[in-house]
């Protein structure tokens, strides 16, 4: 199973297949001239020593160590394991791992499948694969820094919120004017009522309504604001919302002066009998107009939403969204892996099977669901299982992306194991129990690998 991102595939080289294909048969019988077992032991010795001391012995040691307290001298039985399932912080950690294991492998496999199918339909597939695959070569540390930048809360710095606020502002025209308020006093035609600004007198169709607003902070004044204009009288209900303040003094209160600017993007509602009869938005010069409104008197209202702060995006790195945010970074890293593996599987599907189905009248969707996906299922399984193992072990991304204050809410087992054993806590009994817990979680996949390998071998 060889695959390259560029160009046509070579005829399959001898590179070993994964366990999905099974290894080639070990040529055992024809070997009569083989060396003695002593020679084999010499060849195996360095690997055996390293694996024995660094991998196998630690498993045994950790099992025993996990039964003792932090000092290593007091026997606590399964106390450390009981702690894992009773401590509140630990339960959050396990819950997070559960979210990871359920969400991340499905998302990565699905995206990998979509990308693999889509790349078959474009000519620049190589470039696309290289781009999506690239994060695989980058350290998770660097990927973490990249996503700390993406998730910055300030929309002027973080890309995620910059996109969100742009999209939000495109679809919702209302412009935020926090802390702005109507001009007060008997002379003012409008007043504050439950956060909204309403006309004191019912407005009549044909008579322009004036909304003098003060307290607009310079930084929220939009750059497209034009000098305010009085709305022309005429049929229809119209009016002006403007910043009733002339720089350097002067100007008449509650009147539209030439030196004053309109407030663009304010939502205006015409209310009759408690029902909103029509909605309009102010233009750059602050004027608005309700067209086709039946005759009668209305209360004109600027709803409270106009005076709330502008939409600032999401708190990605806060306690609520931190795990989904980090899973997003994980998907960014691993989608290329899934895509390349699944694309190789796709390339191996016999074209005649697909063509035969099409000739028999199957739709593309049927071909995909009834033929492509079933034939791909071994590859999809390999990707899925690999992602489960990776999510169980996830450490770097959480450690780097979650700010220190949010790490308790973002915690995962691998991170907690390191923290408990080597940071602050220094409780190597509990740390060993967490490591064994992690080992037990990957154990089913270990057994699966061995069984799959044996099946391939025989």
């Amino acid at each position: 199973m060889t695959e390259r991102l560029d160009g046509p595939q070579d005829p399959p080289a001898q590179v070993a297949g994964g366990p999905s294909t099974g290894p080639a048969e070990t040529p055992r019988k024809q070997r009569r001239l083989g060396p003695s077992p002593t020679v084999a032991i010499v060849f195996l010795l360095p690997a055996a020593l390293l694996l024995g001391i660094w991998v196998v012995y630690p498993i045994v040691y950790s099992i025993f160590r996990s039964l003792f307290d932090s000092t290593g001298s007091g026997f606590v039985g399964l106390g450390n394991y009981a702690m894992i399932f009773s401590d509140q912080g630990m339960l959050t950690t396990i819950r997070n791992n559960l979210i990871w294991v359920v969400v991340a492998p499905i998302v990565v496999t699905t995206i990998g499948l979509i990308f693999a199918v889509l790349t078959e339909r474009i000519r620049w597939a190589t470039a696309f694969k290289l781009i999506v695959f690239m994060p695989m070569a980058v350290s998770l540390m660097a990927a973490g820094v990249v996503f700390r930048l993406v998730y910055e809360e300030n929309p002027d710095k973080g890309l995620a919120n910059a996109i969100l606020t742009t999209v939000h502002d495109t679809f919702s025209s209302s412009q935020g004017y926090p802390e702005a308020r109507p001009r007060e006093g008997d002379q003012s035609p409008v007043a504050l009522q439950g956060g909204a600004v309403v006309t004191k007198q019912p407005a009549q169709v044909g008579t322009p309504v004036l909304f003098p607003i003060v307290g607009v902070k310079p930084e929220v004044m939009p750059s497209n604001a034009q000098p305010a204009k009085a709305a022309p009288a005429g049929d229809g209900l119209s009016g002006t919302v403007w910043f009733d303040f002339t720089q350097g003094g002067g100007g008449t209160n509650n009147a539209v002066d030439a030196s004053e600017r309109g407030l663009p993007g304010v939502t205006v509602e015409a209310v009759r009998d408690g029902q909103v009869a029509a909605t309009a938005t102010t233009a750059d010069d602050g004027t608005f107009r309700f067209d086709g409104l039946p005759q009668g008197s209305y209360v004109v209202r600027l709803p409270q939403s106009n005076f709330e702060a502008a939409y600032g995006g999401l708190t990605w790195l806060g306690p609520a969204l931190i795990t989904p945010a980090i899973i997003g970074a994980f998907v960014w890293v691993w989608a290329g892996f899934a895509m390349v593996l699944i694309a190789a599987g796709l390339a191996a599907i016999p074209r005649d099977a697909l063509e035969a189905a099409r000739i028999d009248g199957a739709t593309e969707w049927q071909v995909f669901r009834k033929i492509t996906v079933p034939l791909l299922s071994p590859v999809l399984l390999v990707v899925f299982v690999t992602m489960i193992i990776n999510t169980l072990k996830v450490f770097d991304l959480v450690f780097i992306i979650a700010p220190p204050s949010v790490q308790p809410q973002a915690n995962v087992i691998a991170l907690e194991m390191w923290r408990v054993s080597f940071q602050g806590g220094n409780n190597q009994g509990l740390g060993s129990a967490l490591a064994i817990f992690l080992l037990i979680l990957v154990l089913p996949f270990m057994i699966m690998n061995i069984r799959r390998f044996r099946r391939g071998d025989s």
């Binding site: 991102l5 781009i131 710095k157 969707w365």
Partner: protein
Amino acid sequence: MTTTATAAAPSSGLETGTPRRGVLSKIVDRLGSGVVQVVMVLLGLFWLVPTLGLLVVSMRTTEVNNAEGWWTIFTKPAELTLQSYQGLLAGGFTASFWNTVLITVPTTVLVIGIAAMAAYAFAWMDFPGRDGAFLVVVGLLIVPIQIALIPIAVIYGNVGIFGSILGVVLFHTAFGLPFAIFLLRNFFVGIPASLLEAARMDGAPEWKIFVSVVFPLGKPAIASLGIFQFLWVWNDMLIALVFADSGNQPMTKYLQSQMRQFGSNMDILSSGAFLSLIIPLVLFFAFQRYFVQGMMAGSVK
């Protein structure tokens, strides 16, 4: 899965399903492929842009970065500067770069050498318990390294190599071996038996067959393993956090220590993160074929 398939086959449902394709279905196909093109461009940007942002941030001053997003570079190009990189290289980063090299290169060489020997034995030598031993190697493929952190820290403390580069290299080597042996053994098994038998018939010693027959024939697999192992060690943070003291720390640990003040250290972090990913990216683009092969062969890891 439903959404997957819908997106995957944009022209589905509209096609008649008959083998004869009319003008209409051709037009639909064209339109469909146009949509796919646009979607793919957007997705490609989605994957490319975060890294691009890191590069731009690393080439602007802290003041500019605090004032505006990096994407303003397109509308009002602020002056790009290498100031951050100068500051970075004047600090502790340079030493950590060399530590990364000192850890990564020996580990890669050791893993290749030791694993190739073991893989040759597993593939072409008879000894009691061979198949069982190899199954153990397959089982060890996915052992989490967390299991060894505490026991090995204790051993290193007793032997006196805790914090040293040697300790980090040995830990990496041991945990690289299962994958390496697995990959190489499966490749070596495919070497034609006649080549080995001819050499054995001539009475060549096993080490000579290993060096002059198996190793050269195994080059493609060894290249895959080498690039994979190199990147794995180069990019590691956890093992370095535990076993490398501050004098021997690689780039990942050095940069991690700067994370605490993320905002004020943005210049060091962005430029450091970018420098740390240059070499992996160059290797990736130069050897992507071997990289992908290694990944596919070892996808159980």
